[in-house]
Symmetry: C2
Subunit: 719 residues, 2 copies
């Protein structure tokens, strides 16, 4: 898919002439679309196209035509709501008439299994160069162009572009937003995504001057790595807010390795979010709250929050939530207390939450907020819990004034509770550009996510700085697969024997204990002479994948006699199972056990995993995953999120372990995964991390090309 | 505090005559109270009492009096909104006139440090037998009696009694509830709680016929154990829904033992919730949602949830959330699919969520719900995501009909999204008794909490059955401290030496490795002869609390020579620190390390803790806490919540450990804690749990009476 130029979809969102295909009888979608376009004040021409060439019922001003050949000029946008069997013909007609964009509302295609029908529709559009939204979608809106090509509630104007895979979720968001006075720049429901999808839309919206925030509701991705690339780039300029629907438990590919089972698709999606700097929200209420905050508040530079309230309880609930979400609600500094004490009555609490009590006034709010905003805090939540007898609008004025008078703006979020008695106050806030949230907890969520956005930008910058130097390739190049790929030095359609895997991995710079491959008993004396004791012996056989389970690993061999006996024993026991010999390793006696590896995700391709090893693996469920490739900073970030991170740093008086060596290992795995797509899974289990360096206790490679390319061409369900 | 009779507060909530003390000028609280009473249709008499004996401005029908001596008869209820300095006098007047109840709105008492003033007010009321709500409160309401003695938004009638410590939170809840059409039976803001508080109100509401659910907003408790006792009892008959405000990090008593630091006040509050069968919610939106569900839906008997929707996306978000909260959204059984396929169009998804698509009809909802409700599911969420062109009221009718036609009612929660376009539909649902929630996620939260209520009742029953037999006392008796208490056999004002602690604990049935106290070197031969090897030696000195830190513990002594040398070494090193000798223990070489102990919580008194020991303690932060006393079932529940629970059961092929021995230890600690209040803290660290039995590796007792009684008499901040 080619990246569109920044103006590629201008014609889609700002057409001069729109043709609506479909029945224009009342209650039919064609009629509803025309009603909506007209009611929304669409400034261009609307044409109705239907077999009889009728005007819509009740709209004699809208001209009707039997087909596009009769219209005065070709429309810029076709809205198609004819029955499924006629859609292909309509698209062909659009193509012949030179219509550049079509939105197909009609359902009955791939969403109910009719994939052939959808392919034909796509092919027809492709032949004529008609770009499609849909089918099975709820349409598009552009509030700046007064284009309401949708049967959903008409959005208010705003600065958030909302892209949704589910038309119904889109409709619900628009309806909820409207009652809260929250607006949108653009709305796109892309339905089955037979052509235009989330990646191209992101690319386009990156430079859309009317859009400051991009929100997405996703159920699946067209191409995981292309999506991640787009989000990474766009999120540098505009916040990208994402809801991802779908259970983490289902749709999980059965993984045959230990490390592989550490991360399900939901954890990998979370890694994508973290690595690309997007903001994930659980549901539509949180999405609306956050977009409202992001489009109306200045950025928050740190995490110190002040709460100014006229009521203790809601102040406490707010600071509880804020601290739970990682914001700091620190006590007011001495200086600030002094300033506040100079004008606030003695019964006010000055600590933070700062409680003006029910007697708090317009001036009280204004002066308090002004002092707080000039102090150490990075943002403020101003709460007013009203009674029917309180003038909330006056308090709103005080808040607006304080927020406006800032030299270096910090965010001021308001919470006016509740119901009808604060409607006037909320309207005053709205006019003053201050967002109001239903509860302090929800305002705290918004500020914590805004803080996450700022921190994410810093983190990402650091991560990107180290990518080239550390990973030997940029993430951009890695995601785009524009890197030289290396074949594996062994067959990819058969089990990889341990001696082959180890020697390949050593060449790649991974560190194993001293070892020898013993094919016959005659080789033992030289090997033990060179390796020393104690030793570990492991059987080598293409038929034996899980060596421990069949007694194929013997530990703690302390002299040559024991080694010879062990070898003879294995040769005898595994004689019938293609016994090729044994690996002899110097036994590693100390270090923290971790596990690390590569697996291929059907959506995002190669990912790297690391986690607690040994007995802690299942006990702690302590793991981190990142999409390859990445550099040292990202690897450091992975480790710092582990529960065993403290042990690496020297825990309870223990010596610090070689964290840097583990970082090298992860970056090395990430490079290997991208360069060698023929590694389907790789498992280091365990890795012994020591005070100086580390040793890989066991390595296993499962070769074979995982069909990522094929899967990501199609629609990959994230579910 | 005496437990009131079940009708004790009838006069408070259903008075014949109400006297309002305070200025009756417009904008004054006295005036507002009278306005509210009148507007709410109070059927009794309202009297205004103020120095000039004026009628309220604009209300000439309300008679004014200068004092109670002039009124035709004594009122049943006084509402007091005079300035703080006059409150005591008014109460005295009420007492002389025989007024039984007074609600004091006036602030300026203990909440701003004026505790003496509040004590005087309380004393005056006590002298005359006037029962008080407040001061510094927002009043009371009884919708059944049309009593709106509050300046907050007037509640709609309903079945939830809402008790709040914060008047502002109360007001916000009432206002939010009103716009959603949710009502209340009673409302009580008790402010500073100088007299009537949450415990007495719970007792009263338990048998209030108009109240089906009790909701509380708490910042502190008057008496933690009395409160727990009341909740335990009441929750058997009616759900008790609790918001507890306050950070878990602050207000935490500095604990000097390891086990003590395992649980902060918030974890102990959570234990109280679990042991008493209450339902905790994080904030007011969740509280409203839950009370709405509990008062309008039948009980949910299991956790199998079906989602019926006309839109895929919201259905997925709902089932995601439901599964996260522990409900099961299992695929529809074959039989149900067959039934649905017989009447639903082919494009509908039958799996669960069951998606009727945007074409879903009244009949489609009705028949689908009917079939689902007759199948294996325990409850249903019915979602309608509307467009402006959809007849949501018709769909609501289908849902209501299906819910009403059930023989054995199961809960049907509705989600109609969103905004104005579904208002009519939501009204239809309301009239049909079906609660509507703003999102499917919120409906899922409600059903998950309702399921928790049911499970809690079962669990509690089991726990109570075992209490008497296992703990040797009932929790009721334990909470009420109606049990025989035993003194400790050593001084409680000095450090307890290890030999004394161990011999006391052995008498109580706790199990230590074989041991000897060695006061002089001459005793060594007999001791080692009897104990065997290897041995552990620990210094005994009243000056040494943390033995390991000063080299006061020597491990792995393997012969008599080593023991003699070690003793000589300790005698020399600790000569200047009141060296009394050493303890010699047989060294325990195997078992899972756990830690367990007793601490005194300032709110709830003695609590028992258990957690992962050794290196896992800080790594896992794996602990459980319960309020003593409790029996074996509760102890089992504690263990099953630990991350190391799997290891106890035999983890990764390891042998099962003696879980029952650990249960015995916890029940024993719980009994000890209640019988011996002079144990301020007790620390078993570590306990080695073995395949058969367990051994306590180290025990420490910190004696001293913790001032729980004193603290719980006063107001204990939970913060």
């Amino acid at each position: 898919m080619a990246t569109p130029s920044s103006s590629a979809f201008d014609g889609l969102f700002d057409p001069k002439t729109v043709a609506v295909f479909g029945s224009v009888k009342r209650d039919k979608i064609g009629h509803q679309l025309i009603t909506q376009l007209a009611a929304g004040g669409f400034p261009g021409s609307i044409l109705a196209v239907n077999p009889k060439g009728e005007s819509p019922e009740g709209c004699p001003d809208i001209p009707g035509f039997p087909d596009l050949k009769q219209t005065p000029s070709a429309p810029d946008l076709a809205l198609i709501a004819v029955p499924a069997q006629f859609v292909e013909g309509v698209i062909r007609g659009c193509g012949e008439a030179g219509v550049p964009f079509a939105v197909v509302f009609t359902s009955g295609f791939s969403e109910i299994g009719n994939t052939d029908e959808e392919e034909r529709l796509k092919a027809a559009a492709g032949r004529y160069g008609v770009r499609l939204i849909g089918p099975n979608c709820a349409g598009i809106m552009d509030t700046g162009a007064a284009l309401y090509a949708s049967i959903e509630v008409r959005a208010l104007p705003g600065k958030t572009a909302f892209i949704t895979q589910s038309g119904a979720v889109g409709g619900a968001v628009l309806a909820l937003a409207k009652i809260r006075g929250i607006g949108f720049s653009k709305f796109v429901s892309y339905g089955n995504r037979s052509d235009i999808g989330e990646v191209e839309l992101l690319d386009y919206l990156e430079s859309d001057p009317r859009t400051e925030v991009i929100a997405l509701y996703l159920e699946s991705l067209q191409n995981g790595r292309a999506f991640m690339q787009a989000v990474r780039r766009v999120a540098r300029r505009k916040p990208v807010v994402i809801i991802k629907a779908g259970r983490s438990s289902s749709g999980l590919r059965a993984a045959s390795s230990h490390t592989g089972s550490l991360a399900g698709s939901d954890e990998i999606f979370a890694a994508m979010i973290r690595q690309s700097g997007a903001l994930r929200v659980p549901g539509i209420e949180e999405m609306l709250d956050l977009c409202h905050g992001l489009t109306s508040l200045p950025r928050i530079k740190g995490n110190r929050l002040a709460v100014v309230t006229n009521s203790g309880g809601p102040g406490i609930l707010t600071s509880d939530k804020a601290e739970e979400l990682g914001l700091q609600v620190e006590e007011s500094p001495e200086k600030l207390r002094g300033q506040l004490a100079a004008f606030l009555p003695g019964h006010c609490a000055l600590a933070n939450p700062i409680d003006l009590t029910v007697e708090g006034t317009r001036e009280g709010y204004r002066r308090t907020l002004q002092a707080v905003l000039e102090s150490v805090y990075d943002g403020v939540i101003a709460i007013n819990v009203a009674t029917p007898f309180l003038d909330s609008a006056a308090l709103a004025e005080g808040i607006v004034e304080a927020a406006k008078n800032q030299k270096q703006p910090k965010p001021v979020a308001a919470v006016f509770m509740a119901g009808e008695i604060v409607e006037q106050g909320i309207e005053t806030l709205r006019q003053g550009g201050i967002p109001a949230f239903p509860t302090g907890e929800r305002a705290a969520f918004v500020l914590s996510k805004m803080y996450e956005y700022g921190r994410g930008a810093e983190r990402r910058e650091g991560a990107e700085r180290t990518e080239l130097a550390d990973a030997g390739l940029t993430a951009e190049a890695g995601l785009a697969a524009e890197i030289e790929q290396a074949p594996l030095p062994f067959r990819t359609d058969a089990p990889v024997l341990e001696p082959d895997a180890v020697s390949f991995l050593e060449e790649q710079g991974f560190s194993f204990p001293a070892h020898r491959f013993i094919s016959t008993v005659e080789r033992i004396p030289e090997a033990v002479g060179s390796l020393g004791f104690p030793l570990v012996m492991k059987v080598v056989s293409p038929q034996i994948l899980h060596k421990s389970d069949v007694g194929g690993v013997l530990l703690d061999l302390r002299n040559e006699r024991q080694v010879r006996d062990a070898f003879a024993d294995m040769a005898r026991r595994f004689a019938g199972r293609e016994f090729r010999g044994t690996m002899l390793y110097r036994q590693v006696v100390e270090g923290l056990e971790v596990i690390a590896g590569i697996k291929q995700d059907p959506t995002f391709g190669p990912v790297i995993l690391v986690g607690a090893g040994g007995v802690l693996t299942e006990l702690l469920r302590d793991s981190a995953v990142r999409i390859a490739p990445f550099g040292r900073e990202e690897a450091q970030d992975m480790l710092s999120g582990l529960k065993i991170s403290g042990i690496l740093s020297g825990y309870r008086g223990g010596a610090a372990l070689d964290r840097e060596a583990l970082v090298d290992l992860l970056v090395g795995l990430s490079r290997l995964a991208v360069r060698c797509p023929a590694i389907r899974e790789l498992d280091f289990n365990p890795v012994f991390v020591q005070e100086r360096g580390l040793k890989i206790g066991d390595a296993r490679i499962i070769p074979g090309y995982f069909p990522v390319a094929k899967v990501s061409e199609a629609t990959t369900r994230l579910l």
